[in-house]
């Protein structure tokens, strides 16, 4: 019933991860790759950190390592997204294309806040 959106989201994450693997193969063959990919995990209804600074074009891999579902979203100008229901054990990559500041929050758990500073 609610499985569909999250599977879609997981698939989206996989697609992005695959693109990154391909991209990295042409540059270096190191493992793990993902220069420009950062990981933020969620557990105990908290993000693993309150803020993160990245470069424009980087992606953040949001991993739900919690025992409950989350629904991450951002309404910040230029960074609007909605990950929909993210089940425990799933992950999704979100690209941050341009410089600025994004506030990522969970729609279910308002205490969860992550400030993403994207440098040019």
């Amino acid at each position: 019933m609610s499985g569909r959106p999250s599977r879609q989201a997981a698939r989206r994450g996989m697609r992005e991860a695959r693109a990154c693997v391909l991209g990295m193969l042409t540059v270096t063959a190191t493992w793990p790759c993902f220069a420009g990919e950062h990981t933020v995990s969620q557990s105990e209804k908290q993000f693993s950190q309150e803020q993160i600074t990245i470069k424009a074009g980087d992606t953040i891999l949001f991993k739900n390592e919690d025992s409950v579902a989350h629904n991450l979203f951002s309404r910040s100008d230029g960074f609007k997204f909605n990950l929909k229901k993210q089940e425990p054990g799933t992950e999704n990559a979100i690209p941050f294309e341009s410089a600025g500041t994004a506030e990522v929050r969970c729609a279910i758990h308002p205490k969860m806040k992550l400030v993403v500073t994207v440098e040019p």
Partner: protein, 342 residues
């Protein structure tokens, strides 16, 4: 490929996590009992933000404003009209009645213990009390008072001047100082020590046998603590628990479909003083609330929380849960209403 590998590792982690939390939920052995009780212990201090520290002068000004009906355009409705201490800071109505005796869309929530709340309103549309306070004053359905008129009216009452000066020296009468003072006062509105708190503090006799069984059900078979957690009995989060109706709640505010029909988990402190229940007052008694949960919600929708399932409670188990909820009520000192400045 990599993503799917991580996926299964993640799944393992979540299995371990839930296996870990299972004993806590049922709390059969004494060590888990201690852990469970610790999770419900009252804090010793009220948190006040650095930008708006507590002073007795601020509390006094805030309380005076909170109970002053002249903050409404009619001169007839104060914050305390709807958030009435006689009804555990609600109004005892299914849905609030505001300016022009019009019925509003939602029920008045209590303002108890909001110093600890990370988001406000049934749909979470305000983040802080300071952000929230001017809303009801200006809302056409509530107090209907344009902010310019509000400032003019307060300034026309000379006895307010010194109260503002003592509370916020040099800052004068402004939207900001009004909102700040009301917020300081609201943070002091905390539910007192209930039989449940005495039990948590070690007095085994503070609860009846039925209430103790209710507490075990609350944390176990009935799964209430999945959402009504901590000493305030709320996870401060938003869930669809299957209350019928058209109000989309959090989903409408965020424009996120998955959150349709989700409302903020209300505190259960002093809850037996606040019937009828839910965001729309649709459940008349605590027993009917328990019936709703026992049925796995009154409506089943795709947005229904995973934590809401048919419970299979017996009638004595239902009674035990109701008895337990009553143990969360404190006998609080009467509230003295300050004289309105002239």
């Amino acid at each position: 490929m990599r993503a799917s590998v991580v996926y299964s590792v993640g799944a393992l982690i979540s299995i371990t996590l839930s296996a870990y939390s299972a004993p806590l939920v049922y709390a059969s052995d004494p060590r888990d009992q201690v852990e469970l009780k610790t999770a419900y212990r009252r804090p010793s201090e009220i948190p006040h933000p650095d930008e708006n520290r507590y002073t007795p002068e601020r509390e006094k000004l805030g309380k005076t404003l909170f109970f002053d009906p002249r903050l409404s355009v009619s001169g007839f409705i104060s914050c305390g009209t709807c958030h009435n201490p006689a009804f555990a800071w609600g109004d005892g109505l299914p849905r609030a009645i505001g300016h022009g005796m019009k019925t509003l869309g939602r029920r008045t929530p209590t303002i108890l213990n909001l110093a600890w709340a990370p988001s406000l309103f049934w749909d979470g549309r305000a983040d802080t009390l300071e952000d929230q306070a001017l809303g009801p004053i200006q809302a056409p359905g509530e107090m209907n008072m344009p902010i310019g008129d509000l400032l003019a009216r307060i300034k026309s009452l000379p006895e307010y001047g010194p109260l503002f000066e003592l509370a916020y020296p040099g800052e004068g009468v402004s939207q900001k100082t009004i909102a700040k003072a009301i917020s300081v006062y609201e943070r002091t509105v905390v539910s007192g020590v209930s039989p449940f708190d005495q039990y948590i503090a070690g007095n085994e006799r503070a609860l009846t046998a039925s209430q103790k069984r209710g507490f075990a059900l609350f944390n176990g078979k009935a799964n209430c603590a999945a959402c009504h957690s901590s000493w305030r009995f709320t996870d401060d989060s938003f869930h669809d628990i299957g209350v019928p109706g058209e109000d989309l709640g959090r989903g409408a505010f965020l424009e996120i479909e998955e959150l349709n029909y989700a409302f903020k988990t209300p505190t259960l402190r002093n809850v037996d003083r606040r019937a009828p229940f839910m965001h729309d007052g649709s459940e008349a008694t605590l027993m009917s609330v328990i019936e709703l949960y026992d049925a796995g919600g009154r409506v089943r929708r795709p947005t229904l929380s995973d934590e809401i399932k048919k419970l299979g409670l017996t009638s004595s188990e239902k009674q035990d849960l109701v008895e337990f909820l009553k143990a969360l009520t404190s006998v609080d000192d009467p509230v003295m209403v300050p004289a309105a400045p002239r």
